[in-house]
Symmetry: C2
Subunit: 260 residues, 2 copies
């Protein structure tokens, strides 16, 4: 099979001096096309995508090329392969990878034995983005944003205080009630209710002293230091969709990170 989705080097044009070669392997182009179908919602979270054979026929490449594209997407947690069943669009709702982005673990004991956190929405309101929040979410200052504050408790002990900001437009209709009623990861709700899938995130961690309001909500003394975890979460295309500032009490828990 010699056909290609895009021609790699523009034929007919003489080689320009400044032009970078920009060689892109076929499987990368296929990866891009699959990514597009994910973005546009042709295949929705949890659904299966066509078989490798079907995709190979669709893009007119060999199965091996499709396979390599899917391999990379599965590695990025955008797709999940299930032998004998097919390839599926990844979801935040799956048992195995629930709370993929939450790295706080109990110092001892199995995280599962601790059970799910109790969640309490403290506040949920609409407001206008200030400069900081606008920058983080790639909005203009003054654009509508949704602000949520909540507390997570483990075994009755308040452990995480989170403030989060969402762009107002994609999350029209999100209310405190909606958040409270939903049983499962917040990012799973975002997927099913608003079609926003968080794909990756970056966190900046510092040690800070709590203010009075934080002390009260977390039921700690003012000299107890907190882990400040500032997260920006992105959808497809590196579009920021959430700014989250978490404050973690780390006397019986720790932030876990694996380095490779």
């Amino acid at each position: 099979m010699t056909s290609q989705v895009f021609s790699v080097d523009a034929p007919g044009l003489p080689d320009l001096p400044a032009a970078a070669p920009a060689f892109s392997p076929l499987y990368q182009q296929i990866k891009g096309l699959i990514l597009q179908s994910l973005q546009t919602g042709e295949w929705k979270p949890g659904e299966g995508i066509p078989s490798e054979m079907d995709l190979a026929a669709r893009y007119r490449v060999s199965q091996g090329t499709v396979r390599k594209a899917i391999d990379e997407l599965a590695n990025d947690n955008l797709l999940i392969r299930r032998q004998g069943k097919g390839t599926f669009v990844a979801t935040h709702a799956e048992q195995q990878v629930q709370y993929r982005f939450l790295k706080l673990l109990p110092d001892e004991g199995d995280p599962k034995s601790e059970g799910p956190a109790q969640r309490k929405i403290i506040d949920c309101k609409r407001l206008r983005a200030n400069a900081d929040i606008g920058r983080a979410l790639a909005l203009r200052t003054g654009d509508a944003v949704l602000q949520v504050r909540r507390v997570l408790s483990f075994a009755g002990a308040p452990t995480i205080l989170e403030d989060l900001w969402l762009p107002g437009n994609p999350f029209k209709g999100l209310t405190a009630e909606r958040l409270s009623d939903y049983d499962g990861p917040m990012y799973a709700l975002f997927e099913t209710e608003f079609g926003v899938r968080m794909v990756r995130a970056e966190e900046r961690i510092k040690a800070v002293v709590p203010d009075a309001a934080q002390c009260k909500l977390l039921e700690i003394k003012s000299h107890t230091p907190l882990l400040s975890v500032e997260r920006i979460a992105y959808t497809y295309n590196d579009t920021p969709m959430e700014l989250r500032r978490g404050f973690y009490v780390t006397d019986t828990h720790h932030y876990h990170n694996a380095l490779n």
Copy 2:
């Protein structure tokens, strides 16, 4: 090619009821063999390993199978592929990935513009492992360990205080002078001088209040909270080889983490 390195299912034995199938693909077996050659030092850090063709001949499998094994090892940062040149054993001494395990970055500006940290060895002595340290390093309580304390400064400001413990045996002959004189990542010194290559690590992060000694060494007020970063670093075979407790000042720096 139908030959295999190991037979997958023991022939001649009737299928036992409790036996798990334990099917292992060929390329995984090849991966194991390459790993063995890395452990035994047949190929040393920085050196090139045989070409894919040579390895295919050696293990009597196809090049594609060797390729898949190497792909995974390269993904784990154990090998580095260089097109046109060959495949090399990864090192901590390379420009691109220096300080692979140090996730502290300046809040603003390019980390490179900050330049390398100034390092100062505070202390370096031999002692016997207590229970905690013995457990972390898989030693017996009372075994010889080396303890090092040092401070790293950025732009003259002390920012990181580290205590680290190493098993005495593999690191015989390591002295404060040796550490001070060496110009480069500590893990690079461990490779070249002691043949110990750190392959992965795990970190537990908490927010803590500093004690008096820490305040003095880091030149901070006693109410400044610190990020406590406890790391266990592993060589091949998941053998723990270093326990490190870092205390980071996070007023102008932050711990950065990417979530996928």
